[in-house]
Structure formats: C-alpha cells, structure tokens
Amino acid sequence: MAGDPLAELLAGCARKDPSSLARLYELTSAKLFGVALRILRREDWAEDVLQECYLRFWNHAGEYKAGLAAPMTWMSSIVRNRCLDWLRRPGFEVADPDDAIASATPSDVAGPLAELERAADAAAIARCLKTLEAKQRQAIALAFYDGLSHSELARHLQEPLGTVKTWVRRGLLRLKSCLETS
C-alpha cells in the first residue's frame, strides 16, 4: 500500500536507521507477539521467536517488496513460518510423547472466527470463510491460528488423516475462488 507508514519504517530499517526499527517494534510487536503466542503457547518461546523475527526484519528489510505484500502480511508470514520452524526443531516432537502439547491446544477457534467478522479489514476473508463447510472452516482456522499440522488436526478432530487433508485442500480451493470473485 502506498504511503503505508510501516513500509516507510521498513525502508528505514533497510537504511539501518535504528529508530525505524524501534518505531516498527512499537507499532507491531503486540500483534506479532499475539500471533506467535497463539501458535507456540509458551511465552518464552514466543519471545525468542519475536526477537529473531525483528532481527530478521532489520537485516532483510531491503528484501521487502511493497508491490508483493502489505508490510504486516510480510512480517506476520515471517513470524508464522518461524513459529512452525520452531515447532519442528529436532527433538521437539519426541518431547511430546503423551500428546501433552497437542491435547493442550484449545479447540476454541470460534473466538477468533467471530472476532474476524468485526475486523474492518478482514471483511472478505470473514465472509468467504463462512461459505466453507463447518469442518473445513474449523480445520483451516486451527491450522492458521494454532499452527496444527495435518496429523495434529486429525488427532484433534478425531478424523482419519486423509479426510482432514481433503477438508483442508478443498477448503483452501473454495476460499480462493470466493476471494477472487469478491
């Protein structure tokens, strides 16, 4: 978006202006910490990821392309990807042999989905999510907000892996065609 103050701050980071990073942090850290915390569910991990991501913004701001993504999209995608990397650290998966972490994931995605309808800049995605079948919508929301993998989704929703994969795939296809026609 032209004139987006966040884009200007990223440009400042690319020029290695520390006050730009400070301001960027001030404006975006609470949202991005919220995103990371929801996926990782541990404050210390979310803090580590947040730290790494702001250093990444600082070091790679020059790679941000305004035409390709809004600044917040670029930044939140980096945070989500870093969270997923974090979850697949060597040893992490075996560190949860009793599914303690998977089962601790609250099934409550109704909150964010309902909240989405009230968010002004999310009108299209909120409307399109509503056109999905309930199971597809729930699977996509759990994957997006909570970072659940296919097998975690299958366990969580108590459905066969293949079924869950199909829900996700069809849900994404329908979401795309809905967003393209809106």
Binding site: R23, S29, A69, L84, A122, A143
Partner: protein
C-alpha cells in the same frame, strides 16, 4: 521431483505452505524450491496475502520489556527501558518547563510502569504559552501497555490547551477521541476532541488556572464521530493520566 510447470501442484503446495500445514521434510523441500523459483514465490506471496487478514482477530499481547532490550542490544543500540529513559525526552521536558518543574514531573511519573518500547524519535515539546515557568501538564497513557500516548499542557494564565499525540495509531476511523477533565468532585467535563494529529490546540472555557484548578486527572474516551452526543463520556475510557500543576 520437479514441480516446474505443474501449476496445479504448485498452487496446492503454495497454499498449504502459507497455511502452515506443509510440514517436515516436505516443507524443507518446498523451501528449497522456493529459493529457485520466482513463480512459486509469487504463488506463496499471493496465498499469504489471502490468509493474512485472518490475523486481524488475533488478540495483541504486549511482549515483555526485556524483548526489545535484547533486540536493541543485538543491533548495537543501547537499550532504553522506554520513553522515560530517553535523554531526548528529558532534555525537551527541561526546556519546556524549566528545570524545577521537570524534577517535580519526574517524581510524579516515576511510579509509572516501565514502558516496553523505545523512544523512537526525540520528543520536542513546545512551550504552551509565553510563561514557560508555570502551568499544567498531563501524560495520558494506555493502561494495558503503560505506554504514554497523549501529552497535554497549558500555561497557567492561558486558555489554550496543547495536546500532543505521541502515537498517531490511536486514531480510530469513524470515531472521535474526546478529552475529559475529571474533577475531584462532580461529573467529567469535556475539553474537546483529540484530533490525533501530532499537535493540536484546544480552547479552554477560561484560563487553565481556573478551569484545571480542581482537576487531578484527565482521560480520553472513544466517542461517536464528532464527540459525545450527551456531554458525558459514553464510550470506553482508553487513556488516563494525572494532571499536575506546577508553579
């Protein structure tokens, strides 16, 4: 496997990568392809843009103050604990008030919680009237983050209230922010609307010495566009702060 030219597969993997369900070895392999394939990067960017608005409903959570400290240290910038630690802030405040009042002011706000964010730019305050030695100051902060967002000042003999917005992101589309005097007793009195511009001036009913004499606290509430229709706050109170007299 080579996925070049396989549009449908590319598209499916890009979607699952952006959603986060592509995991393990498949994710690593996909990231390798991403580095080499511009059209795949574009497909992922499009999917990220489609899904990113979903984050609008994730509740923001202020990270602990130490997180910024660690980042600042690693980019080679000495970490301040917040605007209160910024030299520029105190220098400006001293200019504005004349040293003694700055000292008093420091005492008043020293109980404020540490601010988890840095002072991004020097704050240069302007004197509210020709008499810079006497007046009122108030710093209104967001109780959720402890972060100062609005700075209000008035000269003792002046009927001009200077309102400085420290964080332009407080503006809410289609709504107004209204500034209130909260007297020791009695109902809140409207002081006018906070424009959200960096600097604004509001007109007081009379000189600050009279109109703010019995006002220990100011507040900003969220109101319908144009301000409270009833003359009393109707929306949530967003920011508050002590209003301090000095002379």
């Amino acid at each position: 496997m080579n996925i070049r030219g396989k549009t449908e597969l590319q598209e499916r993997l890009a979607a699952e990568y952006a959603l986060g369900t592509l995991r393990g070895a498949a994710r690593l392999r996909f990231e390798r392809w991403l580095r080499e394939d511009g059209s795949l990067r574009l497909a992922v960017a499009r999917w990220e843009a489609r899904l990113a608005p979903m984050t609008a409903s994730v509740a923001p959570v202020a990270p602990p103050a130490r997180t910024w400290g660690a980042i600042a240290k690693r980019i080679g910038r000495p970490a301040g604990r917040g605007v209160w630690d910024s030299l520029a802030f105190w220098r400006a405040l001293a200019l504005f008030t004349g040293g003694t009042a700055a000292a008093l002011f420091m005492v008043v706000i020293s109980n404020a919680p540490p601010v988890p964010v840095p002072a991004p730019a020097p704050i240069v305050l302007r004197a509210p009237s020709t008499d810079t030695q006497a007046g009122y100051v108030a710093v209104l902060s967001d109780p959720k983050t402890g972060q100062p967002v609005v700075f209000v000042s008035a000269g003792r003999d002046s009927d001009e209230l200077w309102v400085r917005t420290l964080d332009p992101s407080i503006r809410v589309p289609e709504k107004s922010l209204e500034l209130w005097a909260l007297p020791k007793s009695g109902a809140p009195r409207s002081l006018g609307l906070v424009s959200g511009e960096e600097k604004g001036v509001l007109k007081l009913a009379s000189a600050a010495e009279t109109s703010l004499a019995d006002v220990p606290k100011l507040a900003v509430s969220l109101e319908p566009k144009g301000g409270s229709p009833s003359g009393a706050p109707t929306g949530p109170v967003l920011f508050t702060g002590p209003c301090v007299k000095y002379w």
